[in-house]
């Protein structure tokens, strides 16, 4: 089953690599991954869409990574999800106005153009985005670039948690090997 996970992790070298490597090593399919700076300096927030039969186990494995601070599965929570796509289509000057009108009609906006092409930006849910890209294709040859899903839970924001001090264990019976 596909789960939407939101993870906070320290911005350390290879952190993203570790997350991907772990998911691959545990034989899980990664549908999309998007990662960027969070509101806290030195901490990144990422959205991972992963296919797993045991999401709790997947979260625990991610938590074993030193960089990972918190992982939340929002799949069954209230959350919003958005994805952005850049779509380049063939648009010679005579047709450009017509294309602009139709595209803006379904919520795309032109963010760049050349003599023969225009680039649209579209943002919506991944499913709706797919539909929009299909509709854009009727204008001709098409190149797409998608950002991967960005998810955000409604309600309280998970933030880097305070690290509780580790309980020191007294060792009254301790001997060299812990044997009696």
């Amino acid at each position: 089953m596909r789960h939407t996970l939101i993870a906070l992790m320290e911005d350390r070298p290879a952190a993203l690599n570790r997350v991907l490597g772990l998911l691959r090593g545990r034989a899980l399919g990664v549908h999309s991954i998007a990662s960027g700076e969070s509101e806290t300096p030195g901490v990144r927030r990422m959205t991972v869409l992963v296919d797993t039969n045991d999401v709790q186990q997947t979260i625990k494995q991610l938590n074993r990574l030193i960089e990972v601070l918190e992982v939340t599965d929002v799949t069954n929570a209230e959350y919003v999800v958005r994805e952005t796509a850049l779509v380049k289509i063939h648009a010679p000057e005579p047709r450009r106005e017509e294309i602009r009108t139709v595209a803006e009609g379904f919520g795309a906006k032109i963010v760049g153009s050349s003599a023969q092409t225009v680039v649209f930006e579209m943002t919506d849910t991944p499913d709706r985005l797919g539909e929009m890209i299909e509709r854009a294709k009727v204008f001709g040859a098409c190149e797409t670039m998608r950002s991967g899903s960005l998810a955000m839970a409604l309600g309280a924001t998970p933030s880097p948690t305070e690290v509780p001090a580790r309980e020191e264990i007294s060792r009254p019976w301790w001997q060299a090997d812990g044997a009696c």
């Binding site: 186990q57 494995q61 990574l65 690290v163 019976w173 090997d177 812990g178």
Partner: protein, 588 residues
């Protein structure tokens, strides 16, 4: 000494140098190791790690370097040191092939939760990523088999990286950490800042033991009529053998020890019933299938313990104590999870669990044990005049338990299972083996590491002729280092025996790729300057073991045993642990 020695700088002491002094990165690395209380390192130098070796010379009085013959040997030696002491082992290699040769011991340490710090040289930062001579992306390669790894390109980072690496390697569930240091970082000069504080908010987040879970577990254990304790290596790592014994005695619950948990509970204790799993005892596996509450402490339900996991302990409610939350529910369904250190959990359980006994249940298990041992030939040696593995183990068991002061390192295969079965284990950290990864070639170098850690004890490496021939060049290291307390017992059957056994039982005796020859191992030992013995008669075993033990030097004993002896009982792969084969004829 020579003139060269007198011209060199005086050795550094264990007293840390003044903080303001300008040092090379390599000197900072040495000093960081001293500050982490490292005494010995196992390694091999090469181009990219040479500045570190250059600095090491100044520290030769407080940091012992053991030159191994292969980086795999260096890694296993560090593991042997770590497993026998509980302290992190340190191994060193150069970039490229040196580093990749460490991959097997790092993977082994990962699977067996061994604290290991691997230090590798890397090509200079200016040529990183340009396929420079002896460049490999070792941090990329070891990503999935380390708790964490670092590539250091600034000497300023060395104090905090080393401190963090050792902290991670030994804290919580121990494991391997790799530090890859570019050559220019080792050479650059820096005023080290030793005032480092750990900043790993994502590591070791769990706090104390959950009392509620402990009380729930205590209730389950109190009301159980057929409870069992399954003790794993976590008990040994946390130094909880004493608490385990107290808890078992207070509750009367029979104790099973996994392969890696051997030594956590003395096998001559009346509550010890033995080892479970693929080559565990029939009465133990049956007890697991019958029990109503299973308290697992520091064990991870490996498939060699559970057999077919869906049929494991079908009547039991499982209480799982583990320091690693990801182990809970990974392989078996858990009724109560207690996350934390095994010793802390046992102390809490001791407070919450009233005294009880389980004499009736233990009686049932003992009765089953008597019945099965009576019917099963695997405990008795077969009726033959040839030297059987059983004879070797009987003599070893007698010598070990008579003399004490020993540790045993086993390799992987038939000899490993016989050692687990046929020697009566009594103390933690006296049985060390490659369990999770099953790395042949582990025993000889690991014995070398354990021997350095425990010079007053006798370290036995029990090994097959296959595994011995994978890393036996470390006999040269043993000789060069003047190590006199390693005794290698080769259970030599001229086959890769465990594979041959499976071929015999499951593949119609097609011995494909398993017959194995070798040199005269006694002559080989002699060539390395060690004492060699060849034993092929039953009546010579005890005397050879005595002579090797008393010999003031390391020794190799080549026991030429019956070639097609098998390990029984055996749960065929993929079967439930309730379905065991106990002799050849039972599986036609």
């Amino acid at each position: 000494m020579t003139d060269t020695a007198s011209r060199l700088p005086p050795p550094a002491s264990r007293t840390p140098s003044p903080p303001s002094r300008d040092r090379t990165g390599a000197q900072v690395m040495c000093e960081a190791l001293v500050r982490e209380n490292v005494e010995v390192m196992f390694g091999i130098p090469g181009g990219a790690i040479m500045p570190f070796y250059h600095a090491m010379w100044e520290y030769r009085d407080c940091l012992r370097h053991v030159l191994c013959r292969h980086e795999q040997g260096a890694g296993h030696a560090a593991e042997g040191y770590a497993r026998s002491t509980g302290k992190p082992g340190v191994c060193i290699a150069t970039s490229g092939p040196g580093a990749t040769n460490l991959v097997t011991p790092i993977a082994n340490a990962w699977m067996d939760s061994t604290p290991l710090v691997a230090i590798t040289g890397q090509v200079s930062s200016a040529v990183l990523g340009k396929d420079a001579f002896q460049e490999t992306d070792i941090t990329g390669i070891t990503l999935p088999i380390t708790k964490h790894n670092y590539r250091v390109t600034r000497a300023d980072d060395l104090p905090s990286v080393f401190h963090e690496a050792f902290h991670i390697a030994r804290t919580g569930r121990p494991g391997p950490v790799l530090i890859d240091v570019t050559k220019d970082t080792q050479q650059s000069r820096v005023v080290p800042n030793w005032n480092v504080t750990l900043n790993t908010p994502g590591f070791q987040r769990q706090s104390g033991i959950d009392r509620g879970a402990v009380q729930q577990a205590a209730r389950l254990l109190t009301n159980a009529s057929k409870p069992l304790i399954l003790a794993g290596q976590g008990v040994i790592i946390s130094g909880a053998a004493c608490e385990l014994r107290t808890f078992a005695e207070r509750t009367g619950i029979p104790v099973i020890t996994t392969l890696q948990g051997i030594g956590a509970f003395a096998e001559d204790h009346p509550l010890s019933i033995g080892m479970p799993g693929m080559h565990g005892w029939v009465h133990v596996n049956r007890a697991i299938q019958e029990c109503d509450v299973l308290l697992s402490i520091g064990a991870r339900f490996d498939d060699r313990v559970t057999g077919k996991a869906s049929t494991f302990a079908p009547k039991a409610r499982v209480i799982h104590v583990d320091i690693d939350p990801s182990e809970i529910g990974k392989n078996v369904k858990v009724a109560v999870a207690i996350i934390g250190d095994a010793r802390a959990a046992l102390l809490a359980l001791l407070e919450e669990t009233p005294a009880r006994d389980a004499a009736l249940w233990l009686g049932d298990i003992r009765e089953a044990q008597a019945t099965h041992q009576h019917r099963q030939p695997y405990l008795r040696r077969p009726d033959t005049t040839e030297l059987m593995p059983h004879d070797v183990y009987a003599a070893l068991n007698a010598a070990l338990n008579e003399r004490g002061g020993y540790r045993v390192i086993t390799d992987v295969g038939q000899h490993q299972m016989w050692a687990a079965q046929l020697i009566e284990w009594r103390r933690p950290r006296t049985h060390i083996t490659s369990g999770g990864a099953g790395t042949m070639g582990f025993a000889v170098p690991a014995a070398l590491g354990a021997a350095i850690a425990h010079p007053d004890e006798t370290i036995w490496a029990i090994v097959g002729d296959g595994g011995f021939q994978m890393t036996n060049q470390e006999l040269a290291t043993i000789r060069q280092e003047g190590i006199t307390n390693v005794k290698v017992a080769i259970v030599n059957n001229g086959y890769l025996g465990m594979v041959r056994q499976w071929q015999q039982l499951f593949e119609g005796r097609r011995y494909s790729g398993t017959p194995l020859s070798g040199p005269s191992f006694a002559s080989l030992a002699d060539a390395y300057g060690l004492r060699g013995f060849t034993i092929d008669r039953i009546e010579d075993t005890t005397e050879a073991i005595r002579a090797a033990w008393d010999h003031d030097g390391s020794a190799v004993l080549d026991f030429r045993v019956e070639r097609e002896a098998n390990v029984f009982p055996l749960v065929p792969p993929g079967n439930s642990i309730g379905e065991m084969i106990t002799r050849e004829e039972a599986h036609a």
